[in-house]
Amino acid sequence: MTPLSDEPLSQAISVLLVEDDAPTLWRLQDALTRAGYQVRAAATLAEAKAGLAHGAPKVLLTDLQLPDGHGIDLIRETRQRFPDTEIMVISILGDEESVISAITVGATGYLLKDAFPTDIAATVRDLVAGHSPISASIARFIVRRTQNNPEPPPGPPLNTAKLTPREIDILWGIAKGFSYAEIAGHLGLSRQTVPGHIKSIYRKLEVHTRGEAVFEAVQQGLIRL
């Protein structure tokens, strides 16, 4: 889904990388720096906020569990202050538990911590190019939430009411492992419009009330007070 390319990358792209585990931080930083990104690293929430004070990064990559706070707060703040910044969660397992709550505050997809360096660079490049990656398991979680269950399945709360039937069809395609081209073929769309739909899905899943989001996060135990 993320085609590889060896094209040189623009030097202007700044990345704020927030990760408290030092070895992981190094390898991610290495991978991005080698790909030509301008990387600012932060190990704590405070450092990250200080980093934001220097100006808006093009890309924010953040872990959720930070020693002095929660990545969710950082994502929300960045989203509000710098609407043009692309945000991604760094996740160990890519599980919906963390990824979905990040999506609801404005993140667009996730990056696995053990991804190969080339994949890390490619994912960030796609993100900057306006392609919002979405994994099959996340798509699966979202579409299963759109089904009318009397009792919502456990996991972070998610409001799928705004999604259109077409968007839900696209999510089904992704959940079942179809490529964008295949989905576009099935639904009679142009292949180029699929990423736009996915971006729109991300925006629709965002919760805009800060109090609501915090409350939900606390409810789900994502934020430990």
Partner: protein, 643 residues
């Protein structure tokens, strides 16, 4: 054509038209029945040969004496009037051997005292049954042979009257006993035995209806009918009191209870046909109350005279109303019970009219009363109607019970299904909660440490690359376990979607292409699919992929997903992983490759995983590459089959 007209006409008009045609049919039927009854009632009863009839009489009444012919109505109506005495003659042939002769009185009111040659041979007052003017009781008496002499003999009949009807004497017959008696017997059967049989019937019905009413208090119709029957029985077995004893008045009041009886039957009719009890309802019983009061004040005589003026019209009125009510019921309900009852009422009414005409001497006849007898027709009808209704009620109860059983069974099934669904949901929810917990634990602990290992290994020398691979493999497996525990609703395609992502991530560093071919509609949905099935299949696919990467040296791997139609029409999913690698030689048993023990172990693992899920695994390998073909079962096994 007529049907079309009926559809076009407004519904009210259709109903009216239908009702008027029904009414016409019903009235025609009743007229026919009444005419048939009238015809039957006009038929003369068989009589003994004419030569034994005594028709010429001298009637002495008070001081007057005149010649009359029988049958004869005398004007006397009460004991206060002059009681008529009829004197006539008959011829007795002196023959050898002498035959017993009898005097046979077919009909008389109210009583007769018969004397032959001045000696009384029969006094009907001694027979209680014969004293009821409403029963056409015949009488017969053998004339002692000593009284008879050859030639002309004298016959004197004194008719005794106590009301309420006037004196009457039908033609008496004097003849050989063996000739006359059969005629007597026939009449006795009709007018004495039959009423007793009917009364017995009535008594039984009274008991049954009382029980019904006691058990079903909310149906007062049965109580009314039981009371009517009881009154009828009481009335039938009482005899007319001829002297002034203590209970004579009560006795005559009881005999004059026909208005009460008919009132009760009318009340039954009103209630039985589902009409509301009218406000004027109690008026039905007013005549009988008047009769009782009159009897208590004025004694027997007043009861008798009042009976004729109040009692009989009341009976008639009640019958007319009963006929109207049952006619209305026929129109409204169209059921067998109301038609039957309506016809019976018509028969009784016709008899009553006949009897009235006879009492008032408007139609000349032999003064034979049929009302009482035809009342039995009504009884038959009521008995039949009740049985019919009872049977229908039982049928309704049966069908209701049957419906109830079906409904209860359906509800039970639904409940079971919903219980099973609920259980399934609870199980899924428990699994999801457990998965969430496990995921957090792994995420917080093992996952982070593994990522650190990957990161650290990349910073070291070449030897540590193996550590990194192992740690990455461990992370991959961790993701697989968590992914498999997700509730995918039996759709294996959802699990394959995630697997494709992992596979692409795995193949990318090796520069191997992954072709993904899905033949619509993909795989069938398996509601019985459990997480452990998913893990087995995903690991099997992982091993096939790893074999292709590590041992075959493939450049392109093609995954084909589709559904096969079985010979039995059962659908089976099929996943094929084919590579363009160098392949390997299979052993004779097709189980493991001859070379490469590591690959061999991997293949054996795949086999055992397939067996555990009830799936079929086919391996084909050659110079063009290797193909692993996994045929999913139509239904996944509940428990692990031995691998």
């Amino acid at each position: 054509m007529s049907e079309d007209a009926a559809i076009e006409a407004p519904p009210g008009e259709v109903r009216r038209r239908l009702q008027s045609s029904r009414l016409l049919q019903y009235v025609l039927l009743q007229v026919l029945i009444a005419a048939a009854c009238g015809f039957i009632l006009r038929q003369p009863l068989p009589a003994p040969p004419e030569k034994y009839a005594v028709t010429e009489f001298r009637l002495r009444q008070g001081d007057t004496e005149r010649s009359v012919t029988s049958p004869h109505f005398a004007s006397a109506r009460s004991p206060a009037d002059d009681q008529p005495t009829y004197s006539g003659r008959f011829t007795f042939p002196a023959e050898q051997p002498p035959r017993a002769w009898s005097i046979y009185l077919p009909r008389f009111t109210n009583a007769a005292e018969v004397a032959v040659n001045g000696v009384v041979v029969l006094d009907t007052r001694r027979d209680p049954v014969a004293n009821r003017p409403d029963r056409s009781t015949p009488q017969i008496a053998v004339i002692p042979s000593a009284l008879l002499h050859g030639g002309s003999n004298e016959l004197t009949i004194r008719v005794l009257v106590w009301g309420p009807i006037s004196a009457f004497l039908d033609t008496p017959y004097v003849g050989p006993d063996d000739v006359v008696r059969p005629y007597y017997d026939r009449r006795a059967l009709l007018f004495v035995t039959l009423p007793v049989v009917f009364s017995a019937w009535q008594a039984i019905l009274a008991v049954i209806l009382t029980i019904m009413w006691v058990m079903r208090r909310h149906e007062p119709a049965y109580g009314m009918l039981a009371a009517a029957m009881a009154v009828g029985v009481l009335q039938a077995f009482l005899s007319t009191p001829l002297d002034e004893h203590r209970y004579a008045t009560l006795n005559s009041i009881a005999i004059a209870s026909a208005p009460l009886e008919s009132g009760l039957v009318l009340a039954f009719g009103i209630l039985f046909f589902g009409r509301k009890w009218p406000r004027w309802g109690l008026i039905i019983f007013a005549p009988s109350v008047i009769l009782v009061v009159a009897g208590l004040i004025g004694g027997q005589a007043s009861v008798r005279s009042l009976y004729l003026f109040i009692g009989t019209p009341t009976v008639g009125l009640c019958l007319v109303m009963m006929a109207l009510i049952s006619g209305n019921a026929v129109l409204r309900r169209q059921d067998a019970a109301s038609i039957l009852l309506g016809c019976a009422v018509t028969i009784v009414l016709t008899s009553w009219v006949h009897d009235m005409l006879s009492v008032l001497q408007i139609v000349p006849d032999r003064r034979i009363f049929f009302s009482r007898l035809s009342y039995s027709a009504m009884l038959v009808a009521i008995g039949a109607a009740l049985t019919w209704r009872f049977a229908r009620a039982l049928n309704q109860v049966d069908s209701f019970a049957g419906r109830l059983v079906t409904q209860v069974r359906e509800a039970e099934d639904k409940l079971k299904a919903s219980f099973a669904r609920e259980e399934e949901r609870a199980r899924a929810a428990a699994l999801a909660r457990e998965r969430t917990r496990l995921m957090r634990d792994l995420h917080d602990g093992l996952g982070g440490q593994l990522v650190s290992i990957v990161a650290l290994s990349e910073r070291g020398n070449d030897a540590s690359a193996g550590i990194g691979d192992a740690a990455r493999a461990a992370l991959k497996d961790l993701r697989l376990v968590i992914d498999s525990m997700d509730d995918i609703g039996g759709d294996l395609m959802l699990a394959l979607g995630s697997w494709r992502e992992r596979a692409m991530a795995q193949l990318r560093p090796h520069d191997i292409e992954l072709d993904w071919l899905i033949t619509p509609p993909g795989l069938p949905v398996h509601p019985e699919l459990r997480p452990w099935h998913v893990i087995q299949i995903m690991r099997l696919l992982d091993e096939a992929l790893t074999n292709a990467v590590k041992h075959a040296g493939a450049r392109r791997i093609t995954v084909s997903i589709g559904t096969l139609g079985d010979v039995n029409g059962l659908e089976q999913g099929c996943i094929t992983i084919a590579d363009d690698g160098k392949g390997f030689a299979l052993a004779a048993d097709g189980d493991a490759p001859a070379e490469g023990t590591k690959a061999g172990r991997g293949l054996r693992n795949m086999q055992s995983r397939a067996v555990r899920c009830g799936a079929g695994l086919d391996l084909t390998s050659g110079a063009g590459g290797t193909q692993v073909r996994l045929t999913l079962p139509h239904r996944f096994p509940d428990s692990e089959a031995s691998g």
